[in-house]
Symmetry: C2
Subunit: 318 residues, 2 copies
């Protein structure tokens, strides 16, 4: 997909670099560049570019919207790393470690504001509505995750709620605005939204699975981070639901009393009750839903690319 | 002023309570209510209401904009308290202390997003432009403040730059959007902007002065907070410029080596070189500029109220 949209993506990168500048506070581009130039896949902006182009859009604003989406994502990462007290991101030390929490919070705020400036430039109130709603849903999902962390009674419904907020809301907004800016009818826009929503959920499930080693190889992720942060991800929820050694989960996740060998024990229980395999299957079914949602979209070579992308997202665990 | 706008302010408070709710994350309204219900003066929303009414506005959206401005302000306070590691705000423990830094960061993000939703509802792209620019300027000012903290070579120009960002940008946006939503001509809108800008600068200077005891009485502020946080505020900059004991400032503010009696010594030096008095005079002159800027505004009883407000802001140090 990257090849077909290479020119657009260059324009997005140029716009990102231009807008992350600050006349008065040079620390802003320093912190932002650390993250933005760190070789992220630009997955979310690519979704916006592909969705707009797939719908025949020829105007300039898909580039603004793609940069908007990447800024919102980057701001979220900066704040997440403060919230999670992370030390590594994309294989490098996090901004909160290299600079400080203060810079991460405030530079994140700056990028949020810059993202709103970019979307205002499109002049589309509908786009503004979609993206401001997405921003609220993201923050709500993150707070919800915080509230249910360490709670071993968390249900799958709540998990999906959290994932829709913290991950899928930006994916679905990214694809939806592509259709909206291209002036597409409601059913096409709805299809693009549904694609992004299902893709985002599949993406997060794969991420949660890989945190316990999953079935895939090395992808630069630290195995066990979610366990140490006591997150109620799907593999954990399903293992607890399967009736596996509840006292173990209450001690390690509920109370946070973790000892040597606990991560290995957690992974062994997950494998034994089939939670890893069933999480993988659920992720694959969301990826399949994403592909089906594209039926409403116009025929275009980029449609195949979006289909391939849904496969790619889950390929890490196949 | 509060009386004339009492009905509008009730509507703002109702809207704020409605929009700080969250279907999925009950911690959001808890944290927000702690701050929003803590008896803040609603100074910024009052500026928007008064500016719009002064210009004869009869529509419903000044209420949305006033709530927008209060949400941006509240989000900023939540993030500031994390950045400053504050323990008290408005005489009560801060949210980061009662809950945690995570909640303060994420609930602040939620309120930012909610503020954008509110302004999108007005349907005015010009208002969106002004407020998204203000949000970027605020964050930029905060990062700049972070970068120059502890630097005893900070100039008055840089100080004004920081203050314009962290304080005056929201004041001037609050008054400007009042004029814009009322469809006023450019000179009136410019006058309202200039009023808010000068008022915000006067407000911050008074705040910085009171942090060193100023000349006023008790206003619930902890004297010496800025000194302990090594902030380069105007009284400090002017005392250093006056050639007072540079080694003392380099040790206490530059290096952060503070001992018993240092705050008293700082205040004594400030009084001796006239830095407190001259800061007070500069604040008064900004308040006077604010009043002059109102000349362009239509004749209306609320104009006198805004004039009185400029006096009120500096009255704490007269």
């Amino acid at each position: 997909m990257a090849n077909a949209l290479a020119g657009d993506l260059d324009a997005v990168n140029t716009l990102i670099r231009e807008r992350m500048a600050s006349k008065h506070a040079p620390r802003i581009p320093e912190v932002t560049a650390h993250l933005v130039e760190a070789g992220g896949k630009r997955l979310r902006p690519m979704l916006t570019l592909a969705s707009a182009r797939l719908c025949g859009y020829e105007g300039p604003y898909h580039v603004h919207l793609a940069a908007t989406v990447e800024f919102i994502h980057t701001a979220t990462l900066l704040h997440d790393d403060v919230v999670d007290e992370s030390k590594q991101r994309r294989g490098r030390p996090t901004a909160n470690l290299l600079w400080d929490n203060q810079s991460s919070v405030l530079v994140g705020d700056y990028l949020f504001a810059r993202s709103f400036q970019l979307m205002v430039e499109t002049g589309s109130l509908r786009v503004l509505d979609i993206l401001s709603n997405a921003a609220a849903t993201i923050a709500e999902g993150e707070v919800l995750q915080l509230s249910v962390a360490e709670n071993t009674a968390t249900t799958e419904d709540t998990y999906i709620q959290v994932v829709r907020g913290k991950t899928a809301a930006l994916f679905s907004a990214a694809t939806e605005v592509g259709g909206v800016i291209a002036g597409q009818p409601d059913d096409v826009v709805k299809g693009l939204f549904d694609y992004g929503d299902a893709l985002g959920i599949a993406f997060q499930m794969v991420d949660d699975l890989l945190d316990y080693g999953g079935t895939g190889g090395d992808i630069g992720k630290n195995i066990g981070d979610d366990f140490r942060e006591r997150k109620l991800t799907l593999p954990v929820i399903r293992t607890i639901a399967a009736g596996e050694d509840r006292a173990f989960w209450e001690r390690t996740i509920g109370k946070g009393d973790q000892r040597d060998g606990d991560l290995e024990e957690a992974m062994a229980q997950m494998a034994r009750c089939g939670a890893l395999e069933s999480t993988r299957e659920t992720a694959l079914s969301y990826a399949a839903s994403a592909k089906t949602a594209l039926d409403a979209a116009p025929d275009h070579p980029l449609k195949e690319m979006l289909t391939d992308l849904a496969d790619y997202v889950v390929a890490r665990v196949i």
